[in-house]
């Protein structure tokens, strides 16, 4: 299985295309900023997610944060391991901490997302205010 390029939205949600479709999850920066994730509300297989609309939610410290989808597409798989171990997101968000796999509808939507390098600059800039 080859991992595709990592792309990240301004909402701190990543997309990583591989054989299973496009895996989506939250960025390392977001995982760190939120602290220990204690609950993940997963979408359901077959859901049609729409770019920019919430598709899942993560909870940390009594705050439930809805995640806007970085791209549109049908949910092919969800990471059920997160039900028992939501902190996999904190440990390995780009690996075992993926949330869902989507079928990519419009490849061009990926072009609207940032590369990891650009994203790192984006969050560094945001932190400096």
């Amino acid at each position: 299985m080859t991992n595709g390029t990592l792309k990240i939205s301004q909402d701190h949600v990543y997309v990583q295309a591989n054989d299973d479709g496009a895996q989506v999850g939250i960025s390392d920066f977001a995982a760190e900023a939120l602290g220990t994730i204690i609950y993940v509300e997963l979408p359901e297989v077959g859901d049609e997610v729409i770019k920019g609309e919430p598709f899942a939610a993560v909870e940390s410290g009594k705050a439930s944060v809805e995640l806007p989808a970085p791209i549109s597409g049908k949910v092919l798989k969800v990471n059920e391991e997160l039900e028992d171990a939501p902190d996999l997101i904190n440990q390995d968000t780009y690996g075992k901490g993926w949330i869902a796999a989507l079928a990519i509808e419009e490849v061009t939507e990926l072009d609207e997302l940032m590369s990891k390098a650009d994203y790192d600059l984006f969050v560094a800039g945001a932190e400096e205010g």
């Binding site: 939610a57 410290g61 009594k62």
Partner: protein, 247 residues
Amino acid sequence: MTNDLQDGWIVNLGQARYLEVLDLQRRLVELRQGNFVPDTLLLVEHEPIITLGRRGSKDNILSHAEELASQGIKIQRVERGGDVTYHGPGQLVVYPIVHLTQRNLSVRGFVDLLEEIIIQVLADFGIQAHRDPQHRGVWVEDLKVAALGVAIRRWVSFHGIALNVSPNMDHFCHIHPCELRSEQVTSMAKLLRETPSMEQVVQKVVGRFVEHFPGRWREISPNEVFEGSRIKREFGRTRTAGVVASR
């Protein structure tokens, strides 16, 4: 931009139904995302109701639904964080609808501020309260006086923090509030010889809130907010423009 203080609305709803205010919050969140309304602080007292957060377990509701219904207590599942909580008369519920990224706030920073505001308000009334790193909310010794549960939708907050001023403490016996036993909950009335009025507490909360969320805050009426948010999206734009023009 940095010198340009954001507008803000303060709405004291008095007593209002949970579901009506939930609906209002959801509409305001959507309007806030589009910058049609400024940050808004809602203050309200609800009828007796038990709410469950996204991961909330019905196991933490101790009484049967029929028994609760016979006492007029409803159960509602909502999108906030946290488990089960109780709202009712005598409890001040504070819902800040705040655009976190526009204020450069992290989710954690925002939650910290809400706790800090309540801790300072309690100090204003002579109660020494603190936070617990393991358990969100505000505590007096090992008793919980304010419960917290927020939701973030596209970087706009809703839901919030509920401060027990003088609620009917017996109602907490229907639940395990966030995995606590009900006797681990307290109120300002239990802690003070003289219970402040809800209005006094509201004033202090607004005062502390405005300190921590700088802006040109002004009070607007519940009617304006309910009607305006229902009728049209331009509501906020005209309202805010009017404020600017009148200066």
